[in-house]
Amino acid sequence: MKRRKFIKTLGLTGAASFMMPSILKSGTFGTSASNGFADHVVFVGFAGGLRQQETMMQRYLTDSQGLNGSSYEGNIMYNMLNGSSPTDKIVYGTDPAFGLPGSNPIPQILAQTLETQGTTFKEIQAAGYGHYSALVTLLSGSKSTTQGLRRRPAMPTIFEYARKHLDLAATDTWFIGNGLGNSTPLLNYSNHPDYGAKYGANFLAPSVAFGNEGEKHIKNGRVYDYQQEMSKIYEMQQFLNKSYNLSARDFGGVENTPEEKEDIKAFFREMFNKKASNLIARPPVSDNNDMNTIGYACEVLKWFKPKVTFINLNNIDTCHANFTGYLKNIHRADHAIGHLWNYIQTQIPEMADNTFMMLTPDIGRNLEPNNVVDENDWLSYDHSDANATRIFSQMVGAGVQANLQVGGPGNQIGDITDSMLTVGEALGIKNMIQSEGLISGDAVSLFDRI
């Protein structure tokens, strides 16, 4: 009810047009979009498998390495969560000039945690144990993910719903991937016949596009003047295409207009220039690929101000063989999120007060360890048992109630399929998504679970 009051006070109810059929510019016929309460949505796939024990339960080493005592418990995600930090065996920070590796915790970025600023569902149900299927579920709200790796999702993603029903351009929607693994480049649109490439998001894997390969193969491309050169190249291309008369045009992936393509090319040039000057908007501590991904995500947000952005993090998955690295990467993922939210609020005025951000891990991790030990003789954890289906979800920003906690360990409220529908509600297309009937029957907007 408080949320409804909030929306009402903003004058955004738009009830008269809520269910009115209309023909959108895109040619779709259906229920019109109601007013969303956010102009921009940032949706973070928070990282490659997190145990509830080291995150929401703040147990640090006590539920994993057989260490007992309050000094081994505590919060290592203090941009996202309230709670004091552990005081002994600190390994998750940066390396000091003198002293034990990792013993310098990274300073907090946000003055108030996201838990205080927003709403936290402390334990929700994941869909399974694997990264790929979980990412597909996060993006599509559907558990129909049996198609497996190297295939696109069977059901539409949030990008496709948003582009089709809000009539968005390709550059209004972005998927920032942490790399090319887990078929990540295939998750920017589905194979669904009513959606697909023409409603897909722009995908970008900065670690490759702006990494060594990008430096070598695209950084030094010739810059063509659009009016004098590129427009003529496109004219000749159009003639050649007419001769070939190809009817199916989706073989090239998501398609930007010539103007959008020129804008993206300019963005690429700017990124290479900024990279050369070490000016990419990375977090203050940037020593893993998640930090790099967040840095470029900040640049995409600043340049394009997209309506929908999905960011995928996964360095935490090192937990298969390195528990110490896992703790470090949890701490860094929290640091990255603090930086991201701070950057949106302080460096992108167009998004500062009208952005909704949602964070949901893809999967959890096992209760019992495997046999791999790391440099501290700590045991590692895979993701294959019931504990791996325990995750959380957090949201902050436009339309979100502050300082609200829902559910908790042993009291699951929410499901991973809820996240996409919740984002849909923030965008004002929840009813349209539901009316399509392509999401899980269990899915409910998290706002409706409060």
Binding site: I218, N220, G221, I233, M236, Q237, F239, G252
Partner: protein
Amino acid sequence: MKRLLIYLFCFLLVSSCAKEEYKYGLTSTDILQPSANKDKLKTAEQYIAVLYVNLFQKAISTKELIELERIVRSVGDKRLVYELIISSFLNDPEIILPENADMRSDIKTFLEASYQRFYIRKPSELELEYFRNYIENNANVTPEMVYFSFAISDEFFFY
């Protein structure tokens, strides 16, 4: 006179039995579009390897091919990322391109060679006519720009 009439009769008799040959002035020609049989989409590796050969007249190394395939996967708009790669190829000093003066002095030969290089076929008269007019009416169009348009055209993505 009588003999003359007999000869005339015999001549008419023989000539009237000769088989008539009708000639319509037609020549044989292909009825399908020259690109009709190209219906298989090239993989990213195939596209890059063929493009590289077309532009550099030599085979690409395996290492570079792997790197470029990863670049293609790192960007969602494939046409865009191919444009970025082509721009980079065309800025390489080792690129082998016809001279602008040569193109303009013999547009037909340039076009036939371009169609053969990129499409492995001859251009139709319509295609020759379009490009001849386009090049003649646009003084700033260079062989590089024509090659660029071929490289990003639909037909070049198929084999």
